[in-house]
C-alpha cells in the first residue's frame, strides 16, 4: 500500500470519530441547557456521580484513543520503510534554498526531478540552521539538521509538478524557501541527468 493512502485513512479515521464526539457533546449540552432551564425546571436533582457511567466513559475513550494511536503508528511505519531499488538523491538545505545532488553528482537548485512510478529516497541534511523538507502532496516532512542526516521516501506516481516548502522557521526568507518537484517519464529523467548542470 502506498504510504499516502495509509496516512489519509488515518486522517479520515481520527477526524470522523472526532467529529462524531464533538457533535454528540455539543448537541447534548445544548439540549440540557434548553430542557433544564430554571424557568422550566426549578428543582434540580441531587446527582453527584455514577461510578458505572464514569467507568464506562473512561474505558471507551481509552479503547478509541489506543485504536487511533495504532492507526497513526501503522501509517507512520509506511513512511519509514523504504522499498528496495529506490532512487537515492541527496537534499541539502541552506538559507534560503534547496540543493539536490543526484547519483552522478549532478546538482540542481530548487528543482527536484525524479522518474515516474519509482520509489524515491531523499537523504536530507542542513548546511546551516534547522530547515524542514515538506512535500505536502506525498505527506512527507523531515527536519534538515546540520550533522544529523535523516531521510524521507515516496512513490513518485504519474508525471506532474508539486511544491516543496520549508516548514521549520529559518529566518527572513523562510516563506520564499520553495522548490518544485517535477515527476517525469523515465527516458526524460535519464536525458535530464546527463545534461550539463545549470
Amino acid at each position: 500500500m502506498d504510504p499516502v493512502v495509509g496516512i489519509d485513512r488515518a486522517f479520515w479515521y481520527i477526524l470522523v470519530v472526532s467529529a462524531i464526539f464533538l457533535t454528540g457533546i455539543t448537541l447534548v449540552m445544548i439540549y440540557f441547557v434548553v430542557r433544564y432551564r430554571r424557568s422550566r425546571h426549578p428543582q434540580p436533582a441531587d446527582i453527584r456521580g455514577n461510578w458505572r457511567l464514569e467507568l464506562l466513559w473512561t474505558v471507551i475513550p481509552t479503547v478509541i484513543a489506543l485504536s487511533m494511536f495504532a492507526v497513526g503508528w501503522k501509517s507512520y511505519t509506511g513512511l519509514r520503510t523504504v522499498p528496495a531499488g529506490s532512487v537515492e538523491i541527496q537534499v541539502l538545505a541552506q538559507m534560503f534554498s534547496w540543493i539536490f545532488v543526484y547519483g552522478n553528482d549532478k546538482e540542481s537548485e530548487n528543482l527536484l526531478v525524479v522518474p515516474e512510478h519509482t520509489p524515491i529516497k531523499l537523504n536530507i541534511e542542513s548546511l546551516d540552521v534547522i530547515h524542514s523538507f515538506y512535500l505536502p502532496a506525498f505527506r512527507v516532512k523531515a527536519d534538515a539538521v546540520k550533522g544529523l542526516p535523516t531521510y524521507v521516501w515516496f512513490r513518485s506516481g504519474d508525471p506532474g509538478e508539486f511544491t516543496i516548502l520549508c516548514a521549520e522557521y529559518c529566518g527572513i526568507d523562510h516563506a520564499k524557501m520553495l522548490a518544485t518537484l517535477k515527476v517525469v517519464p523515465r527516458t526524460e529523467y535519464d536525458a535530464w541527468l546527463e545534461q550539463e548542470g545549470e
Binding site: 430554571r38 457511567l53 513512511l79
Partner: protein, 543 residues
C-alpha cells in the same frame, strides 16, 4: 456588627498605615495583589492581541500588506512570547488564584504574603525587560517564541535579553506555585479535608506542582542559550559539535507541561461555574480531582510529541505518541463530567455560564484535533503548519482565554462589588465566538492543504483561507473590546453586587462583595461536600 458594615479590603490597607499608591505597591494582601496582576496582565493581553491582529492583517492578502518580512518575524515572536509568558501562564493563577485560593480555603491570606509581593515585582520586571529588549542591541528577537537553536544563536537580534526576561517570568511563576502549594497544605480551614477543597483550588494545586517542578528546566535551558551566545560554549551548535535536538528536548520538557499549567486553571474555573448556574453538584467530583492530578503527571511525560519530524528515533516516537493518547483520557473525563452536571439541573443562563459553555465547545475542538497531532503518521503532514496554529489557539485561546473571560464575569461582582450589563456581555460573547470560528477554522483547512506556519507570504491556493481568517480576526477583536468596555463601564454605572449574586456555594460567596481585609470575620463552617446546594435551594425564592 453585621457583615455588611465591615470595611472592604479596598478601604483597609495591609500592612496598616499605608496610604495612596503605597497601599498597593507595598501590600501583602492577596486580594490587592490579585487586582494588581489583573491590570498588568490585561495590559499585556491587549498589546499581544493588537500584534496578533496586525499579523492577520498582514496575511490578509498575498505579498506585503502592511509590514516587511523582518517586522513580521519579530511580530509573531513578540505575540507568542507575550501571550505565553505574560498572559496565558500567569493569567488565571496570578489573578484569580491569588484572589480566591485563600478564600476558597477559608483562610486570610497565602502562606508567604511578602513572597507573593516579590513574585508580582518579578512579573513586572520580566515585562519591563521584554520592552527594553525591543529597543536595544539589534531589537526584538525574530526566532519565534521557541528560540530554536542554532538559529537563535546566530541571529543578530537581541535574544539574550528577551530570554532573560522569560527567565525572570519563570521565577515569578515558580514562586507563585510554591506559595499556592504551601497555602493548600498549611493554611486550609482546620476542618477542611482534601475532598472538601473546591475544584478551582484543586486545579491550582495540580498546576502549582508543575510550575514548581518543570520551570527550573526552562530556566536552565534559557541560561544555557545566553551562555552559548556570550561564551561560545558549543553545547547546542552543530558547527562546534553541539546538538540542536538536545535544546528541543530541554525546551519542550518544560514547555509541554507548561500547556497544562495554562489549561488546568481554566478547567478549574469551568468546574466552578457549571455547578453554580446549574444549582447542582458537579458530576464526579473525585474523578475531576484525580483527572487534574493525572493530567499534571502524564502531561509531564509527553514533551517530545512536538518533535516527530526532528530526526529522533522511531522508538521515541512510538513511546511519546502512545503516552500522548493516554493524556487524552482524563481530559475527556472532565468534558463528560461538565456536560453531565447539566443533566436534570436548574440552569440559569448568565454571561459566565455562556462563556463556560463556549469554552467546552472550543476546547473540545482543540482537544480532538490534538489527536491528529498525537498520531505519528498524521502528525508528519500537519506538523509546523497552520493546522497546529489553529489547534493550539483552540486550546489556549478558546480554552484558557475563554475560561479567563468566564472567570472575569463570574468573579467581577465579588472582586469589585459591582454588576455589569448582561445584554452587552451576551453580544460581546457571541461576536467573539463567531469571530473566533471564522478566524481559526480556515487555518485547519490551510494546514491540511500544506501551508506552513510562520510564513510571511504564501502561494495563491492559500489566499481564500487567509482572507477569511483576517475577517474573523477583526470580528473576534471587536467582540473582546466590547467585552472589556462593558466590564469597565460597571465602574461608571456602579450597580452594587450582593454577596452571592449567582447562588454559589463555595466560601467566596459567603463573604461580602468586595471581601473585607481578613476575608472571614468569623471562622467559616465547611460543608461536608463542597458542591451541596441544599442551603442555597432552601433560601431561594420558590418560582
Amino acid at each position: 456588627m453585621t457583615m455588611a458594615t465591615i470595611p472592604s479590603f479596598f478601604e483597609t490597607p495591609a500592612p496598616a498605615g499605608l496610604t495612596g499608591i503605597r497601599a498597593w505597591l507595598l501590600t501583602h494582601d492577596h486580594k490587592r495583589l490579585g487586582l494588581m496582576y489583573l491590570w498588568a496582565v490585561l495590559f499585556w493581553f491587549a498589546v499581544a492581541m493588537i500584534i496578533g491582529l496586525l499579523i492577520r492583517i498582514e496575511l490578509m492578502t498575498m505579498g506585503r500588506t502592511i509590514m516587511s518580512a523582518g517586522v513580521y518575524n519579530s511580530a509573531f515572536t513578540l505575540h507568542g512570547v507575550i501571550m505565553i509568558f505574560l498572559f496565558v501562564i500567569p493569567g488565571i493563577p496570578a489573578i484569580f488564584g491569588n484572589f480566591f485560593l485563600p478564600i476558597q480555603l477559608g483562610t486570610d491570606d497565602v502562606f508567604f504574603p511578602r513572597l507573593n509581593l516579590f513574585s508580582w515585582y518579578l512579573y513586572i520586571l520580566g515585562g519591563v525587560l521584554a520592552i527594553v529588549s525591543l529597543f536595544t542591541a539589534g531589537g526584538f528577537p525574530d526566532t519565534g517564541w521557541t528560540f530554536y537553536v542554532p538559529f537563535s544563536i546566530g541571529t543578530k537580534h537581541n535574544v539574550p535579553l528577551t530570554v532573560f526576561a522569560a527567565f525572570v517570568l519563570g521565577m515569578s511563576s515558580m514562586l507563585t506555585g510554591l506559595n499556592f502549594i504551601t497555602t493548600v497544605h498549611r493554611k486550609r480551614a482546620p476542618d477542611m479535608g482534601w475532598m472538601q477543597i473546591p475544584l478551582f483550588t484543586w486545579s491550582l494545586y495540580a498546576t502549582a506542582w508543575v510550575q514548581l517542578l518543570a520551570t527550573p528546566v526552562i530556566s536552565i535551558t534559557l541560561l544555557l542559550v545566553i551562555a552559548e551566545r556570550l561564551l561560545n560554549i558549543g553545547l547546542f551548535d552543530p558547527a562546534r559539535g553541539g546538538d540542536p535536538i538536545l535544546y528541543q528536548h530541554l525546551f519542550w520538557m518544560y514547555s509541554h507541561p507548561a500547556v497544562y499549567v495554562m489549561i488546568l486553571p481554566g478547567m478549574g474555573v469551568v468546574s466552578e461555574i457549571i455547578p453554580t448556574f446549574s444549582r447542582k453538584a458537579i458530576f464526579g467530583y473525585k474523578a475531576i480531582v484525580f483527572s487534574s492530578m493525572g493530567i499534571a503527571i502524564a502531561g509531564s511525560l509527553v514533551w517530545a510529541h512536538h518533535m516527530y519530524t526532528s530526526g529522533m528515533s522511531d522508538t521515541a516516537i512510538f513511546v511519546f505518541s502512545l503516552l500522548t493518547f493516554l493524556v487524552a483520557i482524563p481530559t475527556a473525563v472532565k468534558v463528560f463530567s461538565w456536560v453531565s452536571t447539566l443533566y436534570k439541573a436548574s440552569i440559569d443562563m448568565s454571561p459566565p455560564l455562556l462563556y463556560a459553555l463556549v469554552f467546552i465547545y472550543l476546547f473540545s475542538v482543540g482537544g480532538l484535533t490534538g489527536l491528529v497531532l498525537g498520531a505519528a503518521g498524521t502528525n508528519i503532514h500537519v506538523h509546523d503548519t497552520h493546522f497546529v496554529v489553529a489547534h493550539f489557539h483552540f486550546t489556549m485561546f478558546g480554552g484558557t482565554g475563554f475560561a479567563f473571560f468566564a472567570a472575569l464575569h463570574y468573579w467581577w461582582p465579588k472582586m469589585f462589588g459591582l454588576m455589569y450589563n448582561f445584554r452587552r456581555a451576551y453580544i460581546a460573547a457571541t461576536l467573539a465566538t463567531v469571530g473566533f470560528l471564522f478566524h481559526y477554522v480556515p487555518m485547519f483547512v490551510l494546514g491540511l492543504m500544506g501551508m506552513p506556519r510562520r510564513y510571511y507570504d504564501y502561494l495563491p491556493q492559500f489566499a481564500h483561507g487567509n482572507g477569511l481568517a483576517a475577517v474573523g480576526a477583526i470580528l473576534l477583536v471587536a467582540g473582546i473590546v466590547l467585552m472589556f468596555v462593558n466590564l469597565l463601564l460597571s465602574f461608571r454605572s456602579r450597580v452594587p453586587a450582593p454577596a452571592n449574586p449567582w447562588g454559589g456555594c463555595t466560601l467566596e460567596w459567603t463573604v461580602p462583595s468586595p471581601p473585607p481585609l481578613h476575608n472571614f470575620p468569623l471562622q467559616p463552617s465547611i460543608q461536608e461536600y463542597p458542591y451541596d446546594f441544599t442551603e442555597i435551594l432552601r433560601k431561594a425564592p420558590r418560582s
